[in-house]
Structure formats: C-alpha cells, structure tokens
Subunit: 353 residues, 2 copies
Amino acid sequence: MGGDFGPRATVSASVRALQAHPHLHLCLFGQQPALDDALAHLSRNDASILSRLTLHHCPDVIAEDAKPSSALRGSKDSSLSRMLDFVATGDAHAAVSAGNTGALMALSRRALGTVAGIPRPAISTAVPTRGKGRCYLLDLGANVEADAERLVDFALMGEVMARCIDGLEKPRIALLNVGIEGTKGTASVREADARLRDFPHLDYRGFIEGDGIYSGLVDVVVCDGFVGNAVLKASEGLAKMLIQRVQQTFEAHWSSRLVGLLARPALRRLRGELNPVRYNGASLLGLNGIVVKSHGGADATGFAHAISRAIKEVSEDLPSQLAHELGERRPVIASVACGRRDSGMDARCRTNE
Amino acid sequence: MGGDFGPRATVSASVRALQAHPHLHLCLFGQQPALDDALAHLSRNDASILSRLTLHHCPDVIAEDAKPSSALRGSKDSSLSRMLDFVATGDAHAAVSAGNTGALMALSRRALGTVAGIPRPAISTAVPTRGKGRCYLLDLGANVEADAERLVDFALMGEVMARCIDGLEKPRIALLNVGIEGTKGTASVREADARLRDFPHLDYRGFIEGDGIYSGLVDVVVCDGFVGNAVLKASEGLAKMLIQRVQQTFEAHWSSRLVGLLARPALRRLRGELNPVRYNGASLLGLNGIVVKSHGGADATGFAHAISRAIKEVSEDLPSQLAHELGERRPVIASVACGRRDSGMDARCRTNE
C-alpha cells in the first residue's frame, strides 16, 4: 500500500520478480480491492506466475506520516504488521515494503527482535561510485545519535553485507569524518576509529570525508543516522537537480532539432544511470530476520530491485552471518540468530503494501 | 601560497579582480619568489593594475596539513598570520585565502575576535538550487557539535548573509533534520526548532530533509558542522562523479564523430555549470572582520569569485550587520562590532597565500 505509486508499482514489481525467479513465492499484504485492481492490469499470460502469488487482505494501512509509537499501539491488522508477523512465524523468509520507514523499523524490531544484542538495527543502502562500483552507507536514519560502540557495530554489519551480498573478499571500511586526521571530529568518531583499528580481520581504512563516499576507494562508509540520512537525501536532491540541468542545457543550447533528436537517447540512458542515486532497496541490518525497505519514490523496476535484494539476503542467510560476526565481537544480550539456512531461490518473500 | 594551484591561481585571480573593480587595492602575502614567478606571467599591459597590487613577503607558510593548534603556536611571519594582522590593524578590510581552513579559522579568531559574544564562527557557503537559485548552508565544519543555541546563532547569521549580501528581502530559513515532523531528530535540533519559532521577524520554515537543500524552496539551511561538512563534500564528490558519467555516456554511445563534435560545446557548458557545486568563497561568519575561504580546488576564476564575495561583504559591512542582529538576540559577552562603514568599492582587500 506504500510508496508514491502504491500497489500498482508493488504488484507489477512482484510479477516481474516472479518471472525472474522461478522458485520464488510472494505473499502480498494489502487491501483486497487495491490489490485486485492492480492485478486486473496483468495479462492472462501470467497465470503460471499468479500461482506463486498469494494475496492477504489486510483491512488497515499505516499512514505515511504515522509516528512509530502510534504504529506500535495501532492495529495488528495493518498490512505492515501482518507481513512482519508472517516473517516472525517463519511463514516467509523476508519482508519488502515501500511504506512508512519509522513504522517499519519499530514493528520489525517488535516482531523479529535483533541479533547479538544489537540495541537497534541500522538502515543501509548502496550508492553508485566512480569506476562503476558501489558503496554501502550506514546508518541512514534509524540511529540519529550513535556512540563509538554503535559505529563499530555499523562497520561490522556493513562489512558482512558487502562481503556476503556483493561477494567482496575484503571490503574496505571507512568512518565518515570532517577530515582525515586523527584529531578531527567528534569524540564518538575518534573513539570508534581507535576501536576499529583493533579488528585485524577488517580492512579498515580510517577516516574519509564526504566526497570519499563516491570515490570508489572504499566499499562501506559508516556514520550516525543523522549524518547518513542528510548525506543520502542531499545526494538525491542534487542528482535530481543536475539531471534537470543537463536537460535544460541541451534544450537551451543545441542548435538544431536534428542534434536534439540524436541527443535524446543518450540523455535517456543518462537519466537511467543517475536516478536514483541509490540502488533501490535499503536493508534493516541487525534484525533477526530480513526486511528490505524500498524507496518511496521507486517505480515497479525499483521495487523489483528491492525484492531481488531480499532474495539475495535470504540465499546468503544474512541474519545468521550478522549474528555470527557480531556475536564474536560483542556480548550476546538478547536474542539469537534465526538460523534459517534452508532456502535459496525458493524463498517465500513477502511483499507488503 | 595555498590551494591546489598555489600562487599562480591566486595572483592571476587578483589581477582579474583588480581589472573588474577599479577602486580595489590588493595586498598579496606570500613568499616573494613564488609571487614574483606568478607575476612574471602577466603581460606589460597590466601596469595600471599592478599599481594597485602590493606584495608582502612572508618567509613562512602554514602547511595544508598543519593542525590549528600548531598554527597558533607557530610563526607570526606566515602568510596567513601576516594577512590577518593586516585586517586586525585596519590596514585591510578583508582577507581571502585558499590555505589550511582549520589554521585560517584559529588564526582569524585570535587576530579578529568575534561579534556579540559568539563563541566560535561558523563557515558558510551557498550551493546552487533548482530554478537557478542558491541556498546558504551552515555550519560547514567549524563546529562539529552544536547545541540549540549555536544552531539558532547559525540561523540568524545565515539570515543576515542572505539578506545583506544576496539582497533577499525575507530569506527563508530551515533546519536540517531526518524528517519534517516535530518529533524527529536530536534534542538540539528539536530545541532549536522551538526557539526559532519565537523570532517573529524570521521567515522560519521548520525542518527540512537533505534533498530540500537543492529544492530552491529555502534560502538558508542550518545544521551542525559535522553534518554540513559531510553533506557539502558528499555533494562535491557526487557532482564530480556525475559529470564524469555524463562524459562517458556520450563517449560510449554517440554514434558518430560529428555528433561528438556537436556535443562537446554543450558538455563544456554543462561542466562549467555543475562544477563546483558551491559558488566559490566560504565566509567565516561571526568574526569581528571579514575572512573568506576559497576552495582548495578553485582555479583563478574560482578565487576571483572569492575576492568578489569579500568585496561585497565589505561594502555591506557584514560584521556590523551580524553584530547588530546577534547583539539584539543574545547577550554580548566578549567583543563588539568593528563598525567599519567607510568603504565600498575602494576596499583594500587582502589576498593571502
């Protein structure tokens, strides 16, 4: 039910994902009329696909502007809650949603718990870098303040993500700071820097400044959620503005219609490459389960990417990997790893809202 | 002596500024051989210009990686120190430097003091926005942590800047946050939000997310120096990457050399428009004097922009405006406004390093 394009995008993306992954099963959680309407647009050719798609009618929807606290107090029959319950009970292996991020985070924590005593998950996504690479940035807003210990957790989780999901042998990790000298920055950042040097298995590269995120020189950049959120959203805003200016420059200055016609396909490719800044699909890292947040502005193609990310995390059993990595480094206080290792491409992923 | 291009860029920029501003006098502070070398490249036609250019030989240079503390303990005969002394004694109206930012900040505070009891200046620059506007962002790194009171100071100073320098009648002010709801963000940000609502003369628009910086909907965005620094540098890194991709897209996909030739002028224009992200020239706001930091990567054109900004700040007597605005809002603890109101285009601006 969430996202700028609502069920039309999520349902259409679900069908694409089912086509791309022959062993995938998807459960859609939402209001039946909206789901039916979105499904009505699919052709009959999709019958084989539809057999792997289950609809779960949920009477309630959590509003985009609802506070996490009211989501926690609110209906158990919202599409978000029902989807997460399905993961909690083991009926599905992962959840994907384009809905309210704060509510998704709060309900996910309640429904799934965290691994290795992590007090609060972090949100992470990858951005494109120079040299056609990608860089994970975390946290993106779940932890608006983060002490040194949390920053170290983020570094360890980001390392697991880049290694297990992207297959990097030794991901290069850096801490975001206002300078690269050891004397710069806040006390938390300097303490985290000192602590990270004590992990010999980490390829920790020290401090990096903001421009380093896009440099292609590191694979994971760690910061608190306030900074990460501001940086990611500013990047999105800037990318949109620059794309608009690219168009305007060509429209204003190109001397002939012929050249305009020739330029158009190149511009289209360019827009596709630049927008969105993020590869769609932000992972809620540290949960005892897999939850992927699709960007609210993502279309069906974007949402399908988020589903693919969830499938990949299921096939690599990301929560167990995180539990293992963090459990070795920090005391286990609360919950334990879910240990689901049964699945791969036949994962039942749940697509919510 | 500072910046990626050294004295060649600063001296060449100085000559351009002297050409553009017939009543401007410039004093160059640096090592005589380097200044002579840079001046040797100027043609004889510039004799009338050179009469308004004074060289001040300084034996020492503060290294780009020197800590502020060592700059404070170091030589009084560095180009930075000598330049700032010249402003402190009233021999010049403003200082412009492409050197070490931390050292410039520390030496400026010592040499000039601050207005209206401001404990520490903020660094601010404008970024381009949609609709061909601009938006001031502050702080950019001088205050890695900022409580509510400091954030309010930044808002008041940004307002003065946009009103006095850019001539906006009622600049729109916003606080950067991870969401626009009042419950979001850190305690400092929420308290600053509450306080800013008590300034009836401010056009305060509440919270804004990162993408709002480039939206054209506000003129001043306030945040702590850690966030501002990360956002600005990430934006610069992203812009560089996108420009590279624009070029690659055309190089890879354009089907004929003819089209490549036609596209080249448009791409050149585009690069000029997009790079740098910032309008060059970051102001050290809150000092009892005018100091403008030119971006280390700026060429002669960029450095000339920074000189122009200093001239504008002199002609509007920015320190007095800030002292007046902040003095009315907060108790005066330390220094007072400089009150230099004598100048305009005949300002003697000092170009350092």
